[in-house]
Symmetry: C2
Subunit: 283 residues, 2 copies
């Protein structure tokens, strides 16, 4: 596995392997979820490039940025074993050579919902770094986990609206055996917190079951909130999976529903979601 | 001169002439100002591509959009004569195939000033279309007139911050013999309006002279406003040419000052500007 650290070298690599690259952008501290993206990229492309960059512009809370776990040696070992061709691991100074840019790439009515509502600037930071990684690498395909569903949706729209030729591939989120969504942040949980966190996916699964049985948004939302009563909840909603508008009982159901939550356990912010397709409306 | 109308064909042309293209994006109804950009592009590049597209997303007033002058036959003749290699003249439906996108590319603290203050969404529209034209064509250089100084500044910053390899070349604005800045909109002026419009550049030149003599922002601003008393003025200010902040008397002078105005004559919005460099401060 080749390792490079400058955007200049990344452009050169892209020029040599034009239209053959599958790209997996990450913030490091890799787990099986990331490796499933790498596996998918390997199956679909001649070359697989992974980036590791903890992007300061997408953290609204500097403390959260500082606490983000890092283990470069272990990450390299995992990627080497997974057969990755190139690891791009830039320094912050190489990415933002003139300080954080003041440009903003925005979807005003998608970024103010769910994870965006309480994290001003988060998704602008995500889209800016993804935009520029795509400019340097120009991958044929890029892989994003559906655990960060809103991120996947925004990146997919940006790639289309800003005329990238990159295909955005959304990959299923992976869960631990007890259902907890895999996350680099799980390592920060205490033993008790880790136990409690199982309740997050259980609440999502219950809400989904209730919806599947009743086709009632209100019943599913009630079930979700009841099961999450033990948590400090940032949001817990049923939304239109395309517009991210919160669903209300009695209005027409969308093609796909996103049931999504963000909660705090031991002060660690954890997110999870499931997608559910309403019954077809009979004609 | 080849003429194409689809973004797909534009990408193909770009692939054949990679890194050899000088690009002049326009909204058509061409005058000598545009042709001076073409001339510069011809001198610096192997191929010159001009686009004509009256971009609806940058007009905040639909009436202004409808009234924007169009003369395709004359434009083609001028460009043919100027030795342009390719004219890109897309339909609106080819550019925004899924309706106007909701993505916004913004510089919040640059877009709310001068031409941006009263024209919500104008520069977002400009940056979006320029971004995508660059994505399709990937020119080595792109040429913008300094008459739209704020547009030039924003495009230049965007090209840098979003990692385009395109060099943005700012070209001097051209004036009629009596000093009126050349503009596609001048054709909409009545004979009396055309006479009156001479006062715009005169006011700018006076203000510049006053500043050069006094190095006083207040004196130059007063001169500007006095000379523009006969006009309906949208803005008339001395600004920091890099940040676009309005200058105030007594604060340190920037490296370069933009004296810029927007006025209405016969209901036609006309803009003009001059740049002036303050005397070096002795050490």
């Amino acid at each position: 596995m080749e390792v490079i650290t400058t955007r200049h070298a990344l452009r050169e690599y892209a020029a040599r392997h034009s239209q053959k690259i599958g790209f997996v952008p990450t913030m490091g501290y890799l787990h099986e979820g990331h490796l499933s993206l790498v596996e998918r990229a390997k199956a679909q492309n001649e070359k697989v490039v992974v980036s590791i960059f903890v992007n300061p512009t997408q953290f609204n809370d500097p403390k959260d940025f500082e606490k983000y776990p890092v283990d470069e040696a272990h990450d390299k070992e995992l990627l080497e074993r997974a057969g990755v061709d190139l690891l791009f691991m830039p320094s912050r100074g190489n990415i933002f050579s003139e300080g954080n840019p003041t440009i903003r790439i925005q979807y005003p009515h998608l970024m103010d919902k769910l994870c965006g509502e309480k994290r001003a600037g988060h998704f602008e930071g995500v889209l800016l770094i993804v935009h520029n990684l795509f400019m340097w690498l120009n991958p044929a395909r890029a892989y994003f986990g559906l655990k960060d569903y809103q991120q996947y949706l925004l990146v997919q729209k940006m790639a289309r609206d800003l005329e990238f030729t990159t295909e955005i591939v959304g990959c299923p989120l992976l869960r631990e055996k007890d259902g907890l969504a895999m996350s680099s942040r799980n390592v920060r949980l205490s033993s008790a917190g880790r136990q409690q966190a199982v309740g997050i996916s259980q609440a999502l699964f219950s809400s989904r079951s209730v919806f599947q049985e009743t086709q009632s948004v209100r019943a599913a939302a009630d079930a979700l909130r009841q099961e999450l009563a033990q948590f400090e909840v940032e949001y817990a909603t049923l939304s239109n999976a395309e517009t991210l508008e919160t669903l209300e009982e009695g209005t027409p159901l969308p093609k796909k529903i996103l049931i999504a939550v963000a909660v705090f356990v031991d002060g660690v912010r954890l997110i999870d979601n499931v997608l559910v397709v309403p019954h077809a409306i009979s004609i």
